[in-house]
């Protein structure tokens, strides 16, 4: 008799073994080390850290290796690890004004205090496949370091505009921000939680949402006021010490978008800010985040809410790729119990409809 295929222990064990073999690939090709991934797949590592919301390049590299380069799978692995870590405190707010800047550009000014620093960017490369890279063993010449000059803070473009009264001030608050990894979002979420959500949102989703605002779906006339990338110091304030101590440096990217605002009944025309701050050198993400942040301020600024990118609940509840991929891929799981009941309903409805159709045909 035909027996239903229900899988089970043996099938899973075999699938796992096959997966391990596929992951390794041709054993005559040397195995990738996590060190190689950490040092040479840096932007993949950065994306996994940003969306995994865990700053650990070594673990991110391991996740990428284990996930065979599937970054969403790697993000998932890192999140599942992160969630088991105990929390022993919260850091003080990082000060991006004191960033050791490796890249800093402004699109609103030709030159500005602190200067334009291009840094290691793809921006002006010609996208021609470099066949020389296919041959191994080539170590690029080190770039001669220029004297960074005095270790002074770069002033922010938005602060310069604010000095002139052209930049709408943000609402200051000393309230403890929520934590979306501990407390479920409810709507309206408010800006702190919104920014948390966007900081680890799927890059593709953020990019498309941001892009849609550029194409007229919630147009917000953005300019890159400033984009800066570099190292900042993380400090904690142990209550028993009473003064802050440095626990390490992290690389972050910050984007401040400056947007036109026509003014309202209560506010004069001025510029408004869209803000992006992300882990690692994930510039596209920081820019997208800033555009989406600004779009989501529509309600606060009294703008008409007509586009998806302006709809907080829509954006925030679909931005997380670990949630999205899990629910989408769960369709692979068996559903035959539900399908069986669907079958019975369709049959019952057909049975009920058939005599009526016959009657109509007879008339």
């Amino acid at each position: 008799m035909y027996v239903a295929v229900k899988g089970g222990e043996a099938a899973i064990a075999n699938a796992h073994s096959w997966l391990a073999e596929e992951r390794r690939g041709d054993p005559s090709v040397p195995e990738l080390s996590t060190g190689q991934i950490r040092e040479q797949m840096t932007l993949a590592v950065d994306r996994v850290m940003a969306e995994g919301s865990c700053y650990d390049p070594g673990l991110a590299a391991l996740a990428i290796k284990q996930a065979r380069g599937d970054l969403i799978e790697a993000i998932f692995l890192l999140r599942a690890y992160r969630t088991t870590l105990p929390r022993f405190g919260a850091s003080l707010p990082i000060d991006t004004g004191m960033m050791r800047v490796r890249r800093r550009v402004s699109a609103t000014y030709k030159d500005l205090p602190g200067g334009q620093i291009l840094g290691p960017t793809f921006d002006y490369t010609h996208r021609l496949l470099d066949f020389a890279l296919a041959a191994e063993g080539h170590v690029p010449l080190p770039v001669p370091e220029t004297d960074p000059g005095e270790d002074t803070a770069c002033p922010r473009v938005t602060a310069m505009l604010a000095d002139e009264g052209l930049m709408a001030p943000e609402q200051p608050s000393d309230a403890e921000p929520g934590d979306l990894t501990r407390t479920p979002l409810s709507y309206p979420a408010g800006r702190p939680l919104r920014l948390q959500n966007l900081a680890r949102a799927d890059e593709g989703f953020l990019l498309s949402m941001a892009y849609s605002t550029q194409r007229g779906y919630g147009n917000n006339h953005p300019f890159v006021g400033e984009l800066r990338q570099g190292e900042v110091t993380v400090e904690i304030l142990p209550p028993e010490l009473g003064f802050p101590i440095e626990i390490g440096d992290i690389t972050v990217t910050e984007c401040q978008m400056v947007n036109q605002f026509n003014g309202s009944r209560t506010e004069p025309p001025q510029f408004t800010r869209g803000y992006g701050l992300v882990l690692g050198r994930t510039e596209r993400r920081a820019m997208s985040m800033a555009l989406v942040d600004r779009a989501l301020r529509a309600e606060e600024l009294g703008e008409e809410i007509a586009a998806p990118a302006q709809d907080e609940e829509f954006v925030l509840s679909h931005s997380d790729n670990v949630e999205a991929t899990g629910f989408l891929e769960h369709l692979k799981l068996p559903h035959y119990v539900d399908f069986q009941s669907e079958l019975e309903v369709v049959r019952a409805m057909r049975a009920a409809a058939a005599p009526a159709a016959l009657r109509e045909a007879a008339e």
Partner: protein, 285 residues
């Protein structure tokens, strides 16, 4: 991969306490969705992360755990979840017998063997909001629940009847719990809905991705939504099980060839197996 370095049942004790507090609230307000700080789990969203977190929070080393998916213990996802707990909860016994289990985690079914007092049913829930197809905004559905305004759902049922002659939901058919809250029973076939009514077991529901928990305490009224002149009628495939002959259980349909051949077997493999053993014993006697 080893599981050293992880707490009993994976979650840390602080998280378990948080989930148990949310569960207590859920039990106190039957059918009401309680938000909780759902964690990332090492299994994907949609695979039962809500149910797994609930089980991990209530399970102890003396418990006996049964995990089913589509009514069966040997489906891949059930095997995987059972193995997960066997791995991260040292001392925990697992079983395939409904009667032996103290905790039963399920996806899409309620066992045929009647549940008893002291047992805990843990349902994996993909979508806790029963109104989501009618009103996608949770800010709005929250208001509707607060006002017990379920007119939208009544209208949908009415339209189903007007169009199809019967209430259309074949699974995840909404229920009223304790006469107050409209609740999604999770995508169990409507055949299983009556089993929730006045059940002696504690029924807990976990939706990980949507970060909601809810509960039906023992002996609580659970009514499938219907109309007086169109009462709720659960459907099952007509026929009986090809293995044990049962004509009162929920059946899976097996397509046996490409010429329309098919047969039906019990979806609940444990129940079916027990009946077959009993029949074999009777024949031997």
């Amino acid at each position: 991969m080893t599981t050293e370095g992880y707490n009993f049942a994976y979650l840390d004790e602080g998280t378990k306490r948080m989930i148990r507090r949310a569960l207590l609230k859920a039990v106190a307000v039957p059918g009401h969705q309680v938000p909780f700080g759902s964690r990332e789990m090492p299994l994907p969203y949609g695979w039962g992360t809500g149910g797994i977190q609930v089980t991990a929070s209530v399970v102890g080393p003396d418990d006996v755990l049964k995990v089913i998916d589509q009514g069966a213990d040997d489906t891949t996802n059930a095997v995987s979840i059972r193995r997960f707990f066997a791995r991260v909860a040292p001392g925990l016994r697992t079983t395939e017998r409904t009667a032996e289990a103290t905790i039963i985690q399920t996806r899409h079914r309620i066992p045929e063997t009647p549940l008893r007092e002291g047992q805990v049913m843990v349902y994996q829930v993909p979508q806790p909001e029963p109104l989501f197809k009618l009103e996608p905004r949770r800010a709005e559905t929250k208001r509707l629940h607060a006002l017990a305004d379920y007119g939208l759902m009544q209208v949908k049922l009415y339209e189903d009847i007007a169009r199809h002659g019967r209430v259309g939901s074949s699974y995840d058919h909404p229920v009223m719990v304790g006469g107050r809250y409209l609740m999604a029973p999770s995508p169990i076939p409507s055949f299983d809905n009556p089993k929730m009514h006045l059940s002696p077991a504690l029924q807990l529901f976990g939706a990980g991705r949507e970060r909601r928990l809810y509960a039906v305490p023992p002996y609580t009224e659970v009514r499938s939504l219907d109309f007086d002149d169109h009462p709720f009628v659960p459907l099952r495939a007509s026929g009986s099980c090809a293995l044990c002959g049962a004509d009162h259980t929920y059946l899976d349909e097996m397509v046996t060839d490409d010429r329309g051949g098919r047969l039906f077997v019990c979806s609940d493999t444990d129940y079916c197996g027990e009946r077959q053993e009993q029949q074999a014993a009777e024949r031997a006697a």
